[in-house]
Amino acid sequence: MGLQMFVNALLLGGLYALMGIGFSLQWGISGIINLSYGAMVLLGSYLSLIIFNMFHIDPFISMLFTGALLFLLGAFIYRFALQPLLKGGIVFTLIVTFAIRLIVENIILLVWSADYRTIRVSYAGSNFQFLGAFFPLTKFLTFLVAGVIIYLTYQFMTNTKIGKGIQAVALDKEGAMAVGVDDQKMYLINFALGTALGGVTGTLWATIYSFSPHVMDVIIGRVFIIAILGGLGNIWGAAAGGILLAFVETSGAIFVGSHWQEAIGLVIMVLVLLLRPHGLIGKKFFG
């Protein structure tokens, strides 16, 4: 029982980690609290649903396509809706991202209605046993894929020229500009990357859970907690935050009752904000 709980929490945590990283990058590096993030995640789910229904392409393959599409959408949103407003401060970007969320929600409601949808791949029901614990195959696959994507994101951020540029801008904007880094381009790529990660998470999410426009608020609540727990803009921090939240929720549901699990997460988030504003994992800034 204990082992099974551990496995469940870990598999859920992989998805949470991937979901939190996109939001954390957008907030920590581009400086935008993206209230439309939940909508972007769901857009990923619904896009893969279309692809699955029309072309019968497996979500684990179509996630490349949804990721690319949401990358473009994120770049578009940043360039035309957010970049002109950056000087206005937090109120403007919050309100505009909320407005984008409303528009996307309306589109989803019109096209797919408020019903719950699922993507049932042929191997959805199968699972395997390892060390006495059950591993549902789809959950295990999402965990693996999430891990690979997180690793690739980290490699991108540390080993490519653009990734290094993004980090430089995040660390010291003026200094980076002085050595010839185009700061707005870096913010744009970073924001688009965050949106893409959200979309990929949505696709993976769709293979396990059912989804409806209602899930948007749940996602936003989760990613706030994950980003704060890990420290903003910190990839491994957000990954750890996601896994931690999954463990807190799973054990909270067992020991205190499932209706309290949301409150537990939020209380931990507020405490971390007050006591360790740079996140549970140490440093003031990564880089």
Binding site: W27, I33, A81, P84, L85, G88, I90, V91, F92, L94, I95, V96, F98, A99, I100, R101, L102, I103, E105, N106, I107, L109, L110, G221, F224, I225, I228, H259, W260, E262, A263, L266, V267, M269, V270, L273, L274, P277
Partner: protein
């Protein structure tokens, strides 16, 4: 120069009093549907006024401020179920909201910018979950009811219309007095530069907590009246962040950092969203979103802010011209 300003000031006061008197007698001439819309407008103007004090004047965006709305509504409901009359229940509810705001304010107001906004959202969620799960006291997720008023609906709606109207007027007056007092200059100095304000001898912690308590006071009264007006409340309804996002949009449209701004904003937004609801039901969310983006892009200072800017620029131009001709 002084007399001219005084004259202008008196004229404004007369205009405002006239507007209030018109609104007091308005229910005699309009149908129940419009009375309901106006009541909602007054309520939103009150909440928006509180957000304005926190965000427009002090620079702290309380995104989860709706928790005081919910506390006000729920405490009034609980106390009135115990048999207290409404005129005692709502003040007591608002007292509890003030106590909560002070207890939460000391730790949370140390956070700045994004972090403050997010921490208040977290607290709102936590309080909502507590209300949802304390089933014996609050009725849980199914919500709770207020005692039914024994009068015809027509009279009841007018009663709430007047209550919300007076709440809005009193809130605006208090905000005006607060903002233009010495304390108000402290509030504004926090927005301009908190560290500098601190080193100039302003007790920033005291100022911030008191300001939040003032904002919580009026928001919780609005919550209490709203609950009694609806006569049924549920946690996910009175703790809904939509109240705050709407209020922020109203503040932005009217003009942040002005007293009349939130009131005008509430009128504009409620009218637009009412038209959106009745006109294109299916697209009303998108319509609201697009309207918001358009407003943020083209009238970022709000209606009142843009007008006062124009007047100020015109005055500067006129005085320059006068100088040129005199010189």
């Amino acid at each position: 120069m002084v007399t001219q300003d005084d004259n202008k000031f008196n004229k404004n006061i007369i205009l405002i009093i006239a507007a209030v008197i018109i609104f007091i007698f308005l229910p005699n001439f309009i149908s129940g549907y419009y009375i309901r819309i106006f009541t909602a407008i007054f309520m939103y103007a009150t909440i928006s006024q509180c957000i304005n004090l926190m965000s427009g004047y002090m620079g702290y965006l309380p995104f989860g401020h709706v928790m005081f709305f919910g506390i006000g509504a729920y405490m009034s409901a609980i106390l009135m179920k115990l048999g207290l009359p409404v005129f005692i229940a709502i003040p007591m509810a608002c007292l509890s909201a003030i106590i909560v705001s002070i207890i939460l304010g000391f730790p949370v107001l140390r956070l700045r910018g994004h972090y403050f906004a997010i921490a208040t959202i977290g607290m709102n969620g936590a309080i909502m979950t507590v209300v949802q799960n304390a089933t014996e006291i609050t009725g849980g997720a199914r919500g709770t009811t207020f005692p039914i008023i024994m009068a015809s609906p027509d009279v009841v709606y007018r009663y709430f219309y007047l209550a919300m109207l007076f709440l809005m007027v009193i809130t605006s007056l208090v905000m005006y007095v607060v903002v233009n007092s010495k304390f108000g200059y402290g509030i504004r100095s926090i927005k301009a530069n908190e560290d500098a304000a601190n080193s100039m001898g302003i007790n920033t912690t005291f100022t911030k907590v008191t300001t939040w308590a003032i904002a919580a006071l009026f928001t919780s009264i609005a919550g209490g009246i709203y609950g009694y007006w609806m006569s049924f409340i549920a946690p996910d309804e009175v703790f809904d962040l939509m109240f705050i996002t709407n209020s922020i949009i109203m503040m932005l449209i009217g003009g942040a950092g002005t007293i009349l701004g939130p009131i005008f904003g509430a009128f504009i937004v409620e009218t637009v969203s009412e038209v959106a609801w009745s006109g294109f039901m299916q697209y009303h969310l998108a319509a609201l979103g697009i309207a918001t983006i358009v407003i943020v892009f083209f009238v970022p200072r709000g209606v009142i802010g843009t007008i006062t800017d124009k007047i100020r620029n015109r005055r500067i131009e006129l005085s320059k011209k006068a100088e040129v001709t005199n010189g």
